[in-house]
Symmetry: none
Subunit: 495 residues, 2 copies
């Protein structure tokens, strides 16, 4: 429509009697003409004086409508030149479907495909402690007084550069202390520069997969594995291939080996959640396979500090001569989860890339907290805390084992109890572990169904993850008896 | 090339006299044949015995070359079956540019495409303060004693649940206090449940784009814009469309409006880095456009607390009646960058999804620090700190403005000085701002080249971001005089 035809077009549509107020009608019709592109962007509209006269309206009415449209960005005025339909106005908004206005606008309130999948598969719990939450340490035993004293000391002297953004990689002091600790306790060989301080396993894995893989690349994960890392991998666009585990750890078939992935993520020192230790033969095989095929291995060394009886094997990273292992760990279980300090050890030659990317992507800070942690470790509080907690957790584990045996004898198999903060109580096939977990939650007992950790649902084994880390000694037996009240009917009802 | 032709191909290229050692030549030629895909992945190469005999070489030479190639991932051997060109070997690495080989050895340990792009575009600086680092507040004025006292109080009484993982969304107390603060100071309308506590703008944007968009979706960003967020968007697989800004803020053309994006990211209260305020008309237009097309608007309300003179406009979120604005902010500039506490305000109906996804993806903690912050705000320390800092920054800004005027009069335009912690000194076209910034860094003065903030390089304007937030009053003039020693020759030398 040309601007000169506007008054005719409007005159035909304005209802002089019985309709809405004229002001309202005129506003609505002009808006519609602009939105439907009847009046294209850039069109000069008639002056308010002219339009008012052609339509037989008061000039004030037209002026007010023009002002309202200008306020909302539909038109704009240039002094002395007139009023124009905005360039940048919502002129392309509705397209052909002008019927859409009256009802609902387009429905934007949906999650993206990756967002919906993330939420659908979310494993996170509202509960963060109590019987029998797996993976949560007893934070009440944390030496708060020591920590608080070190922290206050830093706040008193306060070097201002501890309050700014972290230069990529984190506190140099912490990286130095960590390199020593990892070498002596985990046989991880690295310089301080190869260590990038992160907020934990999630961020470490996120950083590694974003730098080392592209959307659509394949990553092998153990099946079963930790749900949280699975979510991080999926949302980064990786294609997950679930590889079964056997008594020696991840166990790729000949077909799997014929089709090498870009990355793999393994838990050699203590498979999560089943607890087996990867054999030395399997470790060497994986390293050789990775070397031949240029794959990256992410070694998640969670929980390796808490072993009862057996000595831990050295890390996979320590066996790696080709620079293909990315080692990740955190202080969430050894100190307290809310601390959010973890680390990633990268091969030589990648440290600058990782440090820069970490600063660029996450804009990290928390240097003061990292300095406190460095001092906490350097003064020996870390190792003595671990030693103390290993004793406490070992005792709780024993109470739980005794309680289970007393109740079920050898009828139910217990796996994964040699290390970490939980064990797995296997249930006979046919018992729906998700139903048991749900019934337990209803009586305020948290257990996690083992089948939920499997990516290949059809392979999922029935069982319960029972955490003992954050349950006081005298609460373990009563809580387990409570759990048994929902477990017994499930065991009786199968078949 | 078929494997049977390999020995002819090699024979033509090996220089028997005067060249490199035969071993070295054979290795280089085979590497080249594999990298250039003359020998495709999966090709079975001749046995060492056969190749040695066809080329008239010692078998040991060939065996050693094969072993070296296997070690580097170019080929692999299956016992009894022969030697094959690797599938996932570095065959895609170098592409056509085979000149690179002779120098660099096989390098399968390369970054992913997204990782390489991220590093190539990385804007992060090694420097985190000093004249004239933009975007960094003066952390030496932070009321450390107050903060430390509140912190010690929490550590003394220590409710253990402050040390565990955060339930999705963060500290309820902080969310409550924040809802009040944002309503009164920024006209943001939300319940505490709509606020998700994050580690800052980067994480807020990461969360939003992962939940609301998929890889390949288009996002509009202002051009110029903040490099850090740009990196977060790119690494999430989004396709960035740079939209120019004018005096009223982001200014999409009719063509842009005809092709609505999935999301847009804007800085309405203070365009970053140019500083203009988005007009009300433009705001209404954007909101209407987003409503009609189901786009999401991410409103980055950084720095809105520091305005000198003018009152801030209300947030875009406060004008949004359709629930399409995602509002993000942080305490990095108002308190200290290393704190790593930010927030995202989501429309009603999305709060549970965002809270769950945040816990699932980032496994957040830091509840104790969040509780300290909540008390810091509730006790009034936050607003009085902002008031004090606004006075200090206002004074520094004035000193800088006076210094620039004294030196350059009106020859150089100053933009964006009404708010925030930096201003932009425009340079005439033809002056290479990157070169000026580089020369300044060499004499220990940090300025950032304005052209580096443009996504469309050809549109980039020349200028310098000059931060005054973290420069003491008496250092501003001397530092600017130092800067002038590299700026003057650049200004003189143009044309």
């Amino acid at each position: 429509m040309r601007a000169s035809m506007l008054s005719d077009w409007l005159a035909q549509r304005i209802e002089r009697t019985g309709g809405q107020p004229i002001y309202r009608q005129l506003y609505g019709l002009l808006q519609q003409a602009i939105l439907s592109r009847e009046l294209p962007a850039g069109t000069k509209v008639p002056s308010s004086r002219l339009l008012a006269s052609e339509l037989g309206l008061g000039r004030n009415t037209v002026t007010q409508v023009y002002e309202q449209l200008a306020l909302e960005g539909y038109v704009w005025s240039a002094t002395g030149q007139g009023t124009f339909v905005s360039d940048s106005a919502p002129d392309e908004i509705v397209g052909a479907d002008s019927a859409a206005h009256d009802t609902a606008p387009a429905e934007p309130r949906v999650l993206s495909a990756r967002g919906a999948r993330l939420l659908q598969g979310a494993g996170v719990s509202q509960r963060q402690g109590g019987a029998f939450m797996p993976g949560v340490p007893d934070v009440s035993r944390f030496p708060a007084a020591v920590w608080s004293r070190l922290q206050s000391k830093y706040w008193r002297r306060l070097p201002p550069d501890l309050l700014t953004y972290a230069p990529g990689g984190g506190s140099p002091k912490l990286r130095q202390v960590l390199a020593d600790y990892l070498r002596t306790s985990r046989s991880v060989h690295c310089t301080p520069e190869q260590i990038i301080v992160t907020t934990g396993i999630h961020q470490s894995v996120d950083l590694a997969v974003r730098l080392l893989s592209d959307s659509g690349d394949v990553i092998w994960t153990e099946d079963p594995c930790y749900w949280g890392v699975r979510s991080v991998l999926q949302v980064s666009g990786l294609s997950l291939k679930a590889i079964p585990v056997d008594a020696e750890g991840i166990n790729p078939s000949a077909d799997d080996l014929a089709d090498p992935p870009k990355l793999m993520l393994v838990t050699p020192s203590h498979q999560y959640p089943l607890g087996m230790v990867m054999s030395l033969a399997r470790r060497r095989m994986l390293l050789e396979f990775a070397r031949q095929n240029g794959c990256w291995i992410i070694e998640d060394d969670y929980d390796s500090e808490f072993r009862y009886g057996s000595r831990p094997l050295a890390s996979l990273q320590g066996l790696d001569t080709a620079g293909q292992v990315i080692y990740v760990g955190s202080f969430g279980k050894t100190l307290f989860p809310g601390l959010r300090i973890g680390y990633i050890v990268v091969p030589e030659g990648l440290s600058t890339s990782f440090a820069t990317a970490s600063a660029e992507l996450y804009r990290e800070g928390q240097l003061l907290q990292q300095a406190v942690l460095a001092e906490f470790i350097a003064e020996g509080h870390f190792t003595s805390h671990i030693r103390r907690m290993r004793g406490i957790y070992g005792q709780r584990r024993q109470i739980l084992l005794d309680t289970i045996r007393k109740r079920y004898g050898d009828a139910l198999q217990i796996v994964g109890g040699d290390a970490g903060l939980h064990l797995v109580l296997r249930l006979p096939n046919g018992v729906d572990d998700r139903e048991v977990a749900k019934a337990a939650l209803a009586i305020n007992i948290v257990v996690r169904p083992l089948s939920g950790y499997f990516l290949r649902r059809e392979e999922g084994m029935s069982g319960l993850l029972i955490g003992y880390g954050c349950v006081a000694e005298d609460e373990i037996e009563p809580a387990f008896e409570k759990l048994a009240t929902v477990l017994d009917p499930a065991l009786a009802g199968r078949g």
